[in-house]
């Protein structure tokens, strides 16, 4: 064989081997790539577990969708999470383990102010960027520039998460002059009632009742009676789910008289309490984040809920999923986009990207302010109306939770007084 022929054959053999190697590499499963680990604590047991489990399902849906498309930066997403038991004392230990032992690349917070705040010192020590899942004014004390809150509180969370209630209340006739403020002895209600006091003073409302109650209160009748004795026009309540149920029940049993009743009652947004309380909710004005009203039809939200609802029903989590789940999903959309656009898990670059970008998510467009809160608040206040019986299907249609504030998303006017609305 001649030398040129040998050289030509050698060249062809090398080219074939290279092509074969390239083909093998391109078909190598993505699972062989190092996963991007996202760590968090979540309330899977305890008082806030109803929402915690729902948030977890939303995050899992996001992770599965991302992995189905090849992961982030070609790397599969792996969720590493632990149950914080709705117990704030477990949180520092969980995040220390996530960061020092599990070596996660990204972190997300647990659900709720009480479970987010304890994580902050650990996160700050490690220089991590963190997406917060529903905390009120968590960053007000820390001023950490790598913290982002997915609850649409706005830059002044203490005020903007409450002012819509008073904005709606002041449209009632006759115009209210007095207010009663009551909340649980816990982080969120303390901040919320502080905000209510500030707004009440600004509006010239006289505060005729201003007390708190211990979180494990069984009977709320004495509290409601005491409030009734003060004869307020407006009653603002900041409560957690079991207390919200107790307050609403007690209000119905005592025959509470007021022009406007409601406020920051966590729990009324959940399917379980909607089903339990049913018509007792009628007339109450309460905060919410998403309701299926025509003014809140964001791109992607219906598709997300279509995936979420059957899984949640099977898992024993909130079957409606209007409250935390869309926002937990949006938080992951934001984190995922930041990782893709910054081409890595550099925490400083991710934080910088999130600060300067307007994101399109299933809960609409989101921009963040310097303190990590939404640049524009979007807490809505709804008035429950026309609820009959305890069937959940009625809540999937518009009309049972009418948006009364803010004006941008309003789908109806306030009906007052609360006393005369059929419960």
């Amino acid at each position: 064989m001649s030398k040129p022929l040998i050289r030509a054959m050698r060249a062809k053999a090398i080219a074939c081997a290279a092509a074969a190697l390239l083909l093998l590499a391109s078909t190598w499963p993505a699972a062989a790539a190092e996963p991007i680990k996202i760590g968090f604590g979540m309330a899977l047991t305890g008082g806030l577990a109803g929402n915690g489990k729902a948030a977890l399902i939303a995050i899992q849906i996001w992770a599965e969708e991302v992995n189905a498309k090849g992961g982030l930066l070609g790397r599969p997403v792996q969720l590493v999470y632990y149950d914080d038991q709705t117990n704030p004392s477990t949180v520092p230990g969980i995040y220390t383990k996530l960061l020092d032992i599990d070596q996660v690349d990204l972190v997300v917070s647990g659900y709720g102010t009480n479970l987010e705040a304890p994580a902050m010192p650990i996160i700050m020590q490690h220089g991590m960027t963190m997406m917060g899942l529903f905390g009120l004014a968590v960053n007000d004390q820390f001023h950490y520039d790598r913290f982002f809150q997915i609850q649409p509180n706005g830059p002044n969370a203490k005020i903007s998460s409450i002012e819509g209630f008073f904005e709606a209340a002041m449209t009632a006739k006759p115009t209210p002059k007095t207010v009663a403020i009551v909340g649980a002895d816990a982080e969120y209600p303390k901040v919320a009632t502080e905000g209510a006091r500030e707004i009440a003073k600004k509006l010239g409302l006289k505060i005729v009742y201003d007390r708190s109650y211990p979180p494990n209160t069984v009977d709320f009748t004495p509290i409601i009676r005491s409030i009734q004795a003060a004869n307020p026009d407006v009653i603002y309540v900041a409560s957690y789910p079991p207390d919200s149920a107790g307050m609403v029940r007690a209000a119905n049993e005592v025959g509470l008289k007021a022009t406007v009743f409601g406020g920051g009652m966590i729990g009324l947004q959940f399917a379980a309490l909607k089903q339990q309380l049913g018509p007792m909710l009628n007339g109450i004005i309460c905060y919410d984040l998403y309701v299926p009203e025509p003014t809140m039809n964001f791109p992607g939200i219906k598709e997300f809920l279509t995936k979420y609802q059957p899984r949640a029903t099977e898992a024993g989590a909130d079957p409606l999923g209007f409250y935390l789940p869309p926002f937990a999903y949006a938080a992951m959309q934001i984190l995922g986009e930041a990782v893709e656009e910054t081409q890595g898990v550099d925490q400083a670059k991710i934080a910088e990207y999130i600060h300067k970008t307007a994101f399109k998510t299933v809960v609409g467009d989101i921009r963040f302010a310097a303190n990590g809160e939404w640049a524009e608040p979007r807490i809505i206040f709804v008035q429950y109306r026309g609820i009959t019986g305890n069937d959940l299907e009625q809540f999937k249609k518009p009309g049972t939770a009418v948006v009364v504030a803010p004006a941008r998303y309003k789908s109806g006017d306030v009906v007052a007084p609360y006393t005369e609305i059929k419960h």
Binding site: L44, T45, G46, G47, A49, G50, G52, K53, Q85, T86, D185, R211, S212, Y213, P214, N216, T217, V218, D219, T221, P222, I223, R225, S226, A229, P241, P242, A245, G246, R249, N252, E253, V254, G255, F270, A271, A272, L273, Q276, M280, A315, G316, A317, D318, N390
Partner: protein, 291 residues
């Protein structure tokens, strides 16, 4: 706040109704801890188990929760007897009941809670009963049936148990084992058998109290922990082993909590209520009607 008579009357009545519920929740501990010296810290978990059984039957068959709890009481009795048998063989017989026995019941508490979470999930559950949502109004007094029905049933439960303990042979044997188990043994009665029966009754009452709880408020698996402190405080305040004392303590706690919440702020309720506990123990260390 100025004290209005109507408001005071309302607070007292609400407190009595609440106290009646506390009594039902505590009566089982009064038997297990007060009479048998068994620190059954898992008692609230059995109450929650009772709540969930009432929930299942109510949801699927529409049966009243309290009726359900009476029907399943024998099953709870059997469960309690089985738990005591394990406790007796593993801990009590070996003299390990103090610390290791306590750890056993802690473990039982968490296993029960986690088991309920795995089966039912973590959402709040509630029941549908004809009387929930109805309130009787008599002038300034409001009697929500949600509280009144459990109160009446609780009084009936306590009266029945007191009659049983004072008039029946087994009941008197239970009182005897709480006073002097050696003396009982000398009379050819097996203390272990009597304790097994008593513990079974204690857990059966937990099942019934669970039905009351889920009528009064929505329930989720970990809510039992909120009651651990209360039940043992009432049991001690009333006097170990005394049903009338326990009832008095429960009613006192309920009324104090209610009046404090109405006039001075709900935040003060636990402090004032447990302040009464300390005062009671300071002047009567054996409790209101302790032996």
């Amino acid at each position: 706040m100025a004290i209005s008579l109507d408001l005071l009357l309302g607070a007292v009545v609400a407190g009595i109704l609440l106290g009646g519920f506390y009594a039902a929740v505590t009566v089982g501990v009064s038997i297990s801890f007060g009479m048998l010296d068994i620190v059954n810290i898992a008692h609230p978990a059995f109450i929650i188990l009772g709540s969930y059984i009432a929930y299942i039957v109510n949801t699927h068959f529409g049966l009243d929760p309290i009726l359900t709890s009476i029907i399943v009481a024998p099953a709870f009795y059997a469960l309690g007897a089985a738990v005591y048998q394990v406790y007796h063989l593993v801990f009590e017989r070996r003299g390990d009941e103090s610390l290791r026995g306590l750890a056993f019941f802690f473990g039982l508490l968490f296993i029960t809670e986690v088991g309920l979470i795995l089966v039912f999930g973590v959402d709040y559950r509630f029941v549908d009963a004809v009387y929930v949502g109805t309130t009787l109004h008599y002038g300034p007094i409001d009697l929500p049936l949600r509280m009144l029905v459990p109160f009446v049933c609780s009084m009936a439960l306590l009266a029945g148990l007191q009659l049983f303990l004072s008039r029946s042979f087994i009941g008197r044997a239970i009182m005897a084992v709480s006073q002097d188990s050696l003396a009982l043994q000398l009379m050819s009665a097996s203390p272990a058998r009597i304790k097994r029966i008593a513990f079974g009754i204690s857990i059966a009452t937990a099942g019934v109290a669970g039905a009351f709880l889920i009528i009064i408020q929505p329930v989720e698996p970990s809510i039992g922990r909120d009651y651990i402190g209360r039940v043992f405080a009432i049991c001690v305040m009333g006097g170990l082993g005394s049903f009338p004392g326990m009832l008095a303590a429960a009613l006192l706690l309920g009324v104090v909590e209610s009046i404090t919440a109405t006039f001075y702020g709900p935040s003060w309720s636990p402090a004032v209520a447990f302040g009464f506990l300390l005062l009671t123990l300071a002047f009567r260390p054996s409790g209101i009607m302790g032996r």
